[in-house]
C-alpha cells in the first residue's frame, strides 16, 4: 500500500473544548495522559465484582450486584413504547425477571454455550432475555428486526440457533418461510402483542413461561473466556462473519462507559442504537447497566420531534447516537429544539461512521455541546478510539486511543509482514495491539478468516487511517468493498446474490453511492437476460423482490439498467467504473476494458 503524506502535519488544528467549562459534574477522567499511564485492565477488573460462584458473568455485573446493594430500587431501564406507554424497571426488577428467563431456558433444556437469538424491536423482553441468557451462560445473538428472511436465515444457520425469541408478526413474515432450513432451532418463544392473540402452533408464549418460572436463580461459575455474545458483521464475500465475544468483554464495556461516555451514577443515558447492532448491545444494554445508571429505551423509530421531546422530558444527560440521525436533524433545522430547555444534557457522543466536522460543530449550535466521535468495530466489542471529555474535540477526528488500548498505523510488506509507520500524517491501515478484554475471540467456525485479521502482533482493522502529530486518528476509508450505509456494513455479494435470483437478471453489480445523510446508499447496476427489456415496472419488481428477501436496510435504494457491466479483458467486473460513472468522475485508465 503506498504511503501518502498529509501536507498539514503542523498546520493549526480546529479544536473544540471536550467538556463544558466549570460544569458541576466533573468528568470521570480529568487528565488523559496521567490516567492512561496508570491504567491496566487488571485495575478495570477490580472495579467489578467478579461472580460469587467464581469467574465473571456479564449479567451479574450489569444487574445482580446492583440489585443486591443500594441501587436495587434505582431505575435501570425506562422503556418508552411507541404509543406513549412508559414502563420502568428497577435493578431489582431486572434481576428477578432475568432470573425467571434463565429458569425458562433451563426448563427448556437450553444449556451453556447454546445460542439464543432475539429478533424483536426495542421491547423490554429483549433486555430480559439477553440478561437471562447470560445468567444461563448461553450465547446471545440479537438480530436487527428490519432484516429480511434471507439475512435472518443466514445468521441463524451460521450460528446454529437453538432458541428464538420474536414477535408473532415477525415470526409469520420472516421466520416461517425459512423454518425448514433451520434444523437446529428447537424453541420459538413469542412475545404477544396487546391484542393477546394466542401464539401459533409449535411456538411458546414468552410471558406465560416467564410467569410460571422461579424468581430465584444462582448463576453458575462462569469462566470469563466463555462465549457470551455473537454479532454478525458483513464481509466482502458471501457469508456474514459471526464475531464471538466472551464474558470478559464486560471489562471494556464498563470502563469505556465510564471513561468515554463519562457515565455517572445519577445520569440518564440514551443510546439510540438498536440492540441488533453491536453498539445497541455493548452500550444499549451492558455498559449503562454495569455503571448503574438509568437507560432510556425508545421503541419508536427515528423522529426529530420525538427525539427532542425525549431529551427534554426525560432529562437525558448523556446521549449516544449515530451520524445518520445527526445529519437528519441538521437537515430538519433547529425548529424542533426551539423553546426546549435541556439543562441536564451534558455530553454527546456519536458512533457508526466518521462524523463530519460540520456535524460536530452543529452540536455546539444546537445543544451548546460538541458531538464526541468515537471509533470501534463489531470485532473490537467496545470503543477503542475516542474524543474524550478531558481533551479537545478535533472535528472530523476519531480521537485518541482508550486507556488500555494501543493503536498504530501499519503498512503491509511484500512478504506478508506488517511494519508500523511512525511518521505523523502517513496513511496506512489502522491496527491495534491484540488482547484487550472485548476483542473478539473468533469468527464462529471460521478460524482461517479469524487468523487473517492478525499479523506480526497486530490486529488489522481493515480501516485506513492516519495519525496526526498529537496522536489523534483520522479515518481515511475502508480497505475492502463493503458498503457503509446509515452506519451498517453491507457486503455487495449478499445483495448481488439476491438480485440474481430474479428471473430477469443476468448480472448485478452493487456499489455504495455517496449520500449526504446515510453516507452511502446501496445502488445496483443490473444487466438483463435476453428477452427482457428495461422498464419502470421491471425495476419496481426487482426492487420489491430485493426488499422482500433482504429487508429494507440491505436492499438497493436505486437500480440502473445496463446493457452489460463494464469488465476487464479477463472478465472481471470493474466496480470502480460503475462508481466513477455514478459520481461523474473521469474514468481513468480504460485501456484494460474489454470491448463490449
Amino acid at each position: 500500500m503506498p504511503e501518502t503524506r498529509s501536507n498539514a502535519a503542523r498546520a493549526p488544528v480546529e479544536a473544540i473544548p471536550g467538556y463544558p467549562a466549570g460544569h458541576p459534574v466533573a468528568p470521570n477522567m480529568g487528565d488523559y495522559a496521567a490516567f492512561r499511564g496508570g491504567f491496566s485492565w487488571d485495575q478495570a477488573r477490580r472495579e467489578l465484582d467478579g461472580l460469587p460462584a467464581g469467574g465473571l458473568n456479564i449479567a451479574h455485573e450489569a444487574v445482580d450486584r446492583h440489585a443486591a446493594g443500594s441501587r436495587k430500587e434505582h431505575v435501570a431501564l425506562r422503556w418508552l413504547g411507541r404509543n406513549g406507554a412508559v414502563q420502568e424497571f428497577s435493578y431489582a426488577d431486572l434481576s428477578k425477571l432475568s432470573n425467571r428467563f434463565a429458569n425458562v431456558l433451563q426448563g427448556l433444556g437450553v444449556g451453556a454455550g447454546e445460542r439464543v437469538y432475539v429478533l424483536t424491536g426495542r421491547i423490554p423482553e429483549l433486555y430480559i432475555a439477553a440478561l437471562g441468557a447470560w445468567k444461563n451462560r448461553s450465547v446471545v445473538c440479537t438480530l436487527f428486526s428490519a432484516f429480511g428472511p434471507e439475512p435472518i436465515r443466514a445468521r441463524m444457520a451460521l450460528g446454529d440457533a437453538r432458541v428464538l425469541l420474536t414477535t408473532p408478526t415477525l415470526y409469520e413474515r420472516k421466520v416461517v418461510p425459512i423454518l425448514n432450513l433451520l434444523p437446529g432451532l428447537r424453541h420459538v418463544l413469542l412475545v404477544r402483542g396487546p391484542d393477546n392473540e394466542p401464539v401459533a402452533a409449535g411456538t411458546l408464549d414468552f410471558a406465560e413461561l416467564l410467569g410460571r418460572a422461579d424468581e430465584r436463580f444462582s448463576i453458575a461459575a462462569t469462566d470469563p473466556e466463555e462465549p457470551a455474545l455473537l454479532h454478525f458483521t458483513s464481509g466482502t464475500t458471501g457469508t456474514p462473519k459471526g464475531a464471538v465475544h466472551a464474558h470478559e468483554a464486560v471489562l471494556t464495556h464498563h470502563a469505556t462507559g465510564k471513561l468515554v461516555l463519562d457515565l455517572h451514577p445519577e445520569d440518564v443515558f440514551w443510546c439510540t442504537a438498536d440492540p441488533g447492532w453491536v453498539t445497541g448491545t455493548s452500550y444499549g444494554i451492558i455498559a449503562p447497566l454495569t455503571n448503574g445508571v438509568t437507560s432510556i429505551v425508545d421503541e419508536a423509530d427515528f423522529d426529530v420531534e420525538r427525539w427532542c421531546q425525549i431529551l427534554e422530558q426525560h432529562r437525558v444527560s448523556v446521549w449516544y447516537t449515530a451520524p445518520t440521525a445527526i445529519r437528519m436533524m441538521m437537515k430538519t433545522g433547529l425548529a424542533p429544539l426551539a423553546g426546549r430547555k435541556l439543562p441536564a444534557l451534558r455530553y454527546l457522543a456519536s458512533v457508526g461512521e466518521p462524523l463530519n466536522p460540520e456535524a460536530v460543530r452543529w452540536g455546539v449550535t444546537a445543544f451548546g455541546l460538541p458531538f464526541h466521535d468515537n471509533w470501534w468495530q463489531t470485532e473490537t466489542g467496545g470503543i477503542m478510539i475516542a474524543n474524550f471529555p478531558a481533551l479537545d474535540v478535533r472535528p472530523g477526528s476519531m480521537g485518541v486511543p482508550v486507556p488500555g488500548i494501543e493503536a498504530g498505523i501499519v503498512r503491509h510488506n511484500a512478504d506478508g509482514s506488517v511494519t508500523q509507520l511512525d511518521e505523523p500524517g502517513t496513511e496506512g491501515e489502522l491496527a491495534l495491539r491484540p488482547g484487550w478484554p472485548s476483542m473478539f475471540r473468533e469468527y464462529l467456525n471460521e478460524p482461517e478468516r479469524y487468523a487473517k485479521c492478525f499479523a506480526d502482533g497486530w490486529y488489522l482493522t481493515g480501516d485506513l487511517a492516519r495519525r496526526d502529530a498529537d496522536g489523534y486518528f483520522w479515518f481515511v476509508g475502508r480497505k475492502d468493498d463493503v458498503i457503509k450505509t446509515s452506519g451498517h456494513l453491507i457486503g455487495p455479494f449478499e445483495v448481488e446474490s439476491v438480485l440474481l435470483e430474479h428471473p430477469a437478471v443476468a448480472e448485478a453489480g452493487v456499489i455504495g453511492k455517496p449520500d449526504p445523510v446515510a453516507l452511502e446508499v446501496v445502488k445496483a447496476f443490473v444487466a438483463l437476460k435476453t428477452g427482457y427489456t428495461p422498464s419502470d415496472a421491471l425495476k419496481k419488481d426487482i426492487m420489491a423482490h430485493a426488499r422482500k428477501r433482504l429487508g429494507a436496510v440491505v436492499a438497493p435504494k436505486e437500480i440502473d439498467f445496463q446493457q452489460s457491466l463494464p469488465k476487464t479483458r479477463s472478465g472481471k467486473i470493474m466496480r470502480r467504473l460503475l462508481k466513477a460513472r455514478e459520481l461523474g468522475l473521469p474514468e481513468g485508465d480504460v485501456s484494460t476494458l474489454e470491448s463490449m
Partner: protein
C-alpha cells in the same frame, strides 16, 4: 482458428503427488469450462469475477475457449476422474494497452486449492507470455482476497492501490 500449441501441454504432479495436466484451452473445452465455473464456491466465483454470477454467458464462454494462443492465452489444469477429464483450475492472460502488457486472472477449484496447482498454472502462463514478447503481467485483486494477494506476493508481483480505490489491489510483474 490458430493451430493448437501442442508443445505447451505438460504433465505435472501436485505437492501430494497427484498427476495433473496443464495445457492450453481448446474450443471443445467449453462444456468443461462452464462446469468448472458452476462448481466454484460462491466466494471463489466472486473473487474471480469481482461480481456475482452463476455461470458464464454463452458469448463469454465462447471467447474464453476460442482463443488465438498469442494475444489471448489460457491454460487449464485437469485431472482424470473415471473416464472424464475434469477442469480444476484455469489461468489466462489477455493483451492490453500499452503494448507489451497483459492482464491475467487465475482460479483453482476450492477442493483443489493448496496443492500447488496455481503455481503450475502460473509457470506455464508466465513462460508463454514471455515467449510471446510480453514484458509486464498485471492483474486486479479484491482487497479481501487474502489468499490471492499472498500468492501474488510469493510470485514476485508488486501490489499497490490506485488512489481512491481502497477495495481493489493492482498487482504487477515484470516478466
Amino acid at each position: 482458428m490458430a493451430a493448437y500449441p501442442q508443445h505447451l501441454v505438460r504433465h505435472r504432479v501436485m505437492f501430494d503427488g497427484t498427476p495433473v495436466t496443464i495445457r492450453p484451452i481448446r474450443p471443445e473445452d467449453s462444456g468443461m469450462e462452464q462446469e468448472f465455473v458452476r462448481h466454484l464456491s460462491a466466494d471463489s466465483r466472486y473473487f474471480r469475477f469481482m461480481g456475482t454470477l452463476r455461470e458464464l454467458p454463452s458469448k463469454k464462454l465462447k471467447s474464453f475457449t476460442e482463443i488465438d494462443y498469442d494475444r489471448h492465452m489460457a491454460f487449464v489444469a485437469t485431472i482424470q476422474c473415471e473416464d472424464r477429464e475434469v477442469e480444476i483450475g484455469v489461468a489466462r492472460y489477455v493483451a492490453v494497452d500499452p503494448p507489451g502488457n497483459c492482464e491475467f486472472a487465475i482460479t483453482v477449484d476450492d477442493a483443489w486449492q493448496g496443492k500447488g496447482v496455481a503455481g503450475l498454472l502460473m509457470i506455464s502462463l508466465e513462460d508463454a507470455a514471455r515467449e510471446r514478447g510480453f514484458k509486464t503481467m498485471e492483474g486486479i485483486v479484491l482487497a479481501g482476497n487474502h489468499k490471492m494477494l499472498k500468492f501474488a506476493r510469493q510470485l514476485g508481483f508488486r501490489c499497490y492501490h490506485l488512489p481512491g480505490e481502497a477495495d481493489t489491489v493492482h498487482v504487477e510483474l515484470c516478466l
